[in-house]
């Protein structure tokens, strides 16, 4: 028996913080990073006598997320109390949803052409977030209640995922869909998107599910990937050694890349769910549903196809660009202003992958034209782009002012190339031995001599010619 005989069965629970201005049951602000306990009120502190009042934007946002993931929206939905004691939970119950969630039976598609797969989404429901506990050596445990009552949607997938890369594919797709709806900014590093992994293993071909463990504390896609690989191996090893898997929550450790037991879920907690008597059922009308679906922008899959068709981008490039709605809009605008949309795409995916800063679409388009027309070389373009994201200067002006035009003068380039060849005889010898990289080393010398402005393609041709001539002699 070996790892190959086993398959992993994964379900993902994703919590997204909704980007409403105020909390789910009170009018406290939800902004990130405020000093501790400065965004609280009697309601979210669970003070005696206070009552929750539902923020309707939260419902609208959750429904939009459901529509974007092909869910059925339950026209009659109920909020329930999930009762448990923990210091970060002021009321000692979390208002969540139990058997009548807002959204159910959805799906999303992952994979490329030919490998597409649907991952089911069991449900999406709304709930309130708890506070944060900070453990201090001297002071003990400190509680920051700013996060209490921040609205969350919990998105539960069917256990349809069979590999770490599928898991990451699902998360990327889910993130993209949610970003497009505008209901959350999905930043894993800020906690506005959190992922828990439920993983079990079984022998390939078996239908029954094995015992699953839950893995928490995953704050990036790569952590998710590593945690899955590690936990899969651990479970397989355990089973092969004759042991059994304990149903428990495990914590992923970034450093070691391994999971460790947090608390046993042998006896699942009894949350004593019951409908919250302080809140009314959520009733959604057909008009409201229509209004919400019309407010959702074109979804990433459609925009990806559009961008591939209109600009002949590869599926891979199109995917990278359209994962983020803002980037898609930026690209679309730029593509209309430049004669070289493919160049724009490449730069967006490459040099500008971290963000476009202050660079306007117009100036970006201008840069692409300069590059596409051969007025400047790619080395120059790359150097300029850093500056442009900060200043949004006009690239055409900079090129003229600083004399950055690409050198295409054959005579000058041949002069420089010959000089470089005579100064580096080894290169010619290497070329004679069949090392074609020798050409590049001379091209490099010419580039240095011209401050990066020599046309690399032309220079390459010239150097090759020179080499052949020399050898021909």
């Amino acid at each position: 028996m070996s790892v190959k005989d086993f398959e992993m069965v994964i379900g993902l629970e994703v919590h997204c913080e909704l980007s409403t201005k105020t909390k789910i049951f009170c009018s406290c602000p939800t902004s990130y990073g405020a000093p501790p306990n400065t965004q609280i009120c009697p309601v979210c502190m669970g003070m005696p006598g206070t009552l929750p009042v539902l923020n309707r934007k939260v419902v609208e946002y959750a429904i939009k997320a459901g529509l974007a993931t092909n869910c059925t929206i339950n026209r009659h939905s109920v909020q329930d109390r999930k009762n448990y004691f923990y210091p970060d939970l002021p009321k000692a119950y979390q208002i969540s949803q139990y058997d009548l969630p807002l959204c159910e039976h959805g799906w999303l598609e992952i994979g490329d052409e030919g490998t597409k797969k649907r991952i089911g989404i069991t449900r999406i429901h709304i709930e309130e977030d708890a506070g944060k506990l900070i453990h201090d050596e001297k002071l003990g445990t400190l509680i920051d209640c700013n996060r209490c009552g921040v609205p969350l949607i919990e998105i539960v997938s069917e256990p349809d995922i069979r590999s770490a890369s599928e898991a990451v594919g699902y998360l990327k797709k889910l993130r993209s869909l949610i970003l497009y709806t505008g209901v959350s900014d999905c930043k894993m590093n800020e906690g506005s998107m959190r992922c828990d992994v439920n993983l079990s293993v079984r022998k390939v071909g078996e239908c029954e599910l094995g015992t699953r463990t839950e893995i928490k504390n995953l704050n990036s896609f790569s952590s998710v990937e590593r945690a899955i690989e590690s936990e899969f191996l651990r479970q397989v090893e355990e089973i092969e050694a004759g042991g059994r898997i304990v149903q428990e929550t495990r914590r992923f450790d970034q450093e070691s890349g391994k999971t460790s037991s947090m608390r046993s879920k042998e006896n699942a907690d009894d949350y004593r769910y019951f409908p919250d008597p302080d809140l009314l059922p959520i009733l959604t009308s057909e008009e409201k549903l229509k209004e919400l679906s019309e407010s959702i922008p074109t979804m990433p899959d459609v925009r990806r196809m559009q961008v591939m068709e209109d600009y002949q981008l590869s599926a891979y490039d199109a995917e990278l660009i359209t994962a983020d709605p803002d980037r898609t809009d930026y690209f679309a605008k730029t593509a209309k202003l430049t004669r070289y949309p493919k160049t724009a795409a490449n730069l967006l995916i490459g040099e500008l992958s971290e963000g476009v800063g202050r660079l306007s679409e117009a100036h970006f388009a201008g840069l692409c034209d300069l590059l596409g027309d051969g007025v400047i070389g790619s080395a120059t373009a790359k150097k300029l782009i850093r500056e442009l994201t900060e200043t949004d200067a006009d690239p055409a002006l900079l090129v003229e002012q600083r004399g950055l035009r690409q050198i295409t003068d054959r005579r000058l380039l041949t002069e420089l190339a010959q000089k470089a060849v005579s100064e580096n005889p080894k290169a010619l010898q290497d070329f004679a031995k069949g090392k074609s990289a020798a050409v590049m080393s001379i091209v490099g010398k010419v580039m240095s001599a011209t401050g990066g402005r020599a046309d690399p393609t032309l220079t390459n041709t010239i150097v090759s010619e020179i080499f052949r001539q020399e050898l021909g002699k």
């Binding site: 009697p42 502190m45 669970g46 003070m47 005696p48 006598g49 206070t50 009552l51 929750p52 009042v53 539902l54 109390r81 009762n83 004691f85 210091p87 002021p90 009321k91 000692a92 119950y93 445990t141 509680i143 009894d270 004593r272 019951f274 008597p277 302080d278 809140l279 009314l280």
Partner: protein
Amino acid sequence: MSQKMITAMTLFELSDKIQKKELSSSEITDAYLQKIAETDDKIGAYLTVCADSARKAAKKCDQMPPKGRLWGIPVGIKDNICTKGVKTTCASKMLEDFTPVYDATAWKSLENSGAVLLGKLNMDEFAMGSSTENSFFHPTHNPHDVSRVPGGSSGGSAAAVAAELAPYTLGSDTGGSVRQPAAFCGVVGMKPTYGSVSRNGLIAFASSLDQIGPITKDVRDNALVLDAIRGKDPMDSTSVNSDAPSALSELEKGVKGMKIALPVEFFGEGLSPDVKNSVLSAAKTFEGLGASVDYVSMPLLSEALPAYYILSGAEASSNLARFDGIRYGHRTDEYRDVEELYRKSRSEGFGREVKRRIMLGTFALSAGYYDAYYKKALQMRRMISDLYGSVFESYDLILSPTAPTVAYKLGEKTEDPMEMYLGDIYTVPVSIAGLPALSLPCGKGDSGLPVGMQLIGKAFDEATVYQAAYAYEQSEGGKII
């Protein structure tokens, strides 16, 4: 005017005096504060008396022209209703030193109308009880016979009005906690339709049952206070704006042609003969005034009591979980970890009845038992509501005793919780159905103690209830204490 004369007046009479400038708010407030200082040691109605702030507030009222009928008139508030800056304890060790940072909406409405806060009134701990003997601090004594209970859980609120220690008070009613003490103390107490009065700031016992209600010397006073505190509150999603007219405007219409039902099962076993006689005699009075009175069979109502204790216990177990010693309330002195912090704080902070109900409620909600208890209780609730609905298709009001006996002696029922619970059989079904119900005095029972009758109306039809109560009261010569 003497203290005696002032404290004998109704809210309406005081209001007239203020409008005519024959009495000032300061004089009225002083009279009450004086009487409290002199006699409350025998009654024990108050937990906190706000003498200084009351005088200040009264003075402020006197400096401005009166805005409405409640202007400048003092009031006592049950100690589970949040009053900003004034200790609110729920008569529990858990909240012994707790001071709310905001005002309950109902209290705020009164304050905005110029009411002067005399102090906070005693109650059964967290509103769980029917005799005020579950107060952590001390019991309250029935002003008609201080060896007896005033009823509960709003015992302090009812006793204060009966003993003339406040012209009117606010209590809260979950299964009878305004009506039953009103009956025991011979005063008028109303539990409005669920959703009429905001629960924002009422420290929750059972969220789907709790309502704040006024306790007064007579019916007209009661209608006035209810008008001032009812209405939709954006802070309470379960509160409702009804387009029902002001109860005051309909008060004097009389009962001619009204059809009143008597649930026959409520007049059988378990009802003390003296109470039975008083209530049936009141039924005769209604007939004499032009109403028709019939016995109606409503056997399902006997299922209300167990359903009530399951539903209220379940909700209470969840509502009281926030008292964990972390952010406010009692925290135990020594603990090794958070589990111990919770366990000791709650064990020390809660009294026996509260613990009993929390355990009952937790059990009813627990895995494997939810369907058998909580879900069944919800279904029973639906059926009882439907039963009332069908009776109200043919009747305008239901008349019953408020409690099966008159006030009993302190300590008489504290040994057996079930005996205590059985005292709620007439009031609890009404709470389950969310209907409005008023208790008013209808005679004297054994040992000369007051008997109360309960008038139950259709949802949001407080007007009809007050109408009938007023007609009865007037026929008996005005207020009866």
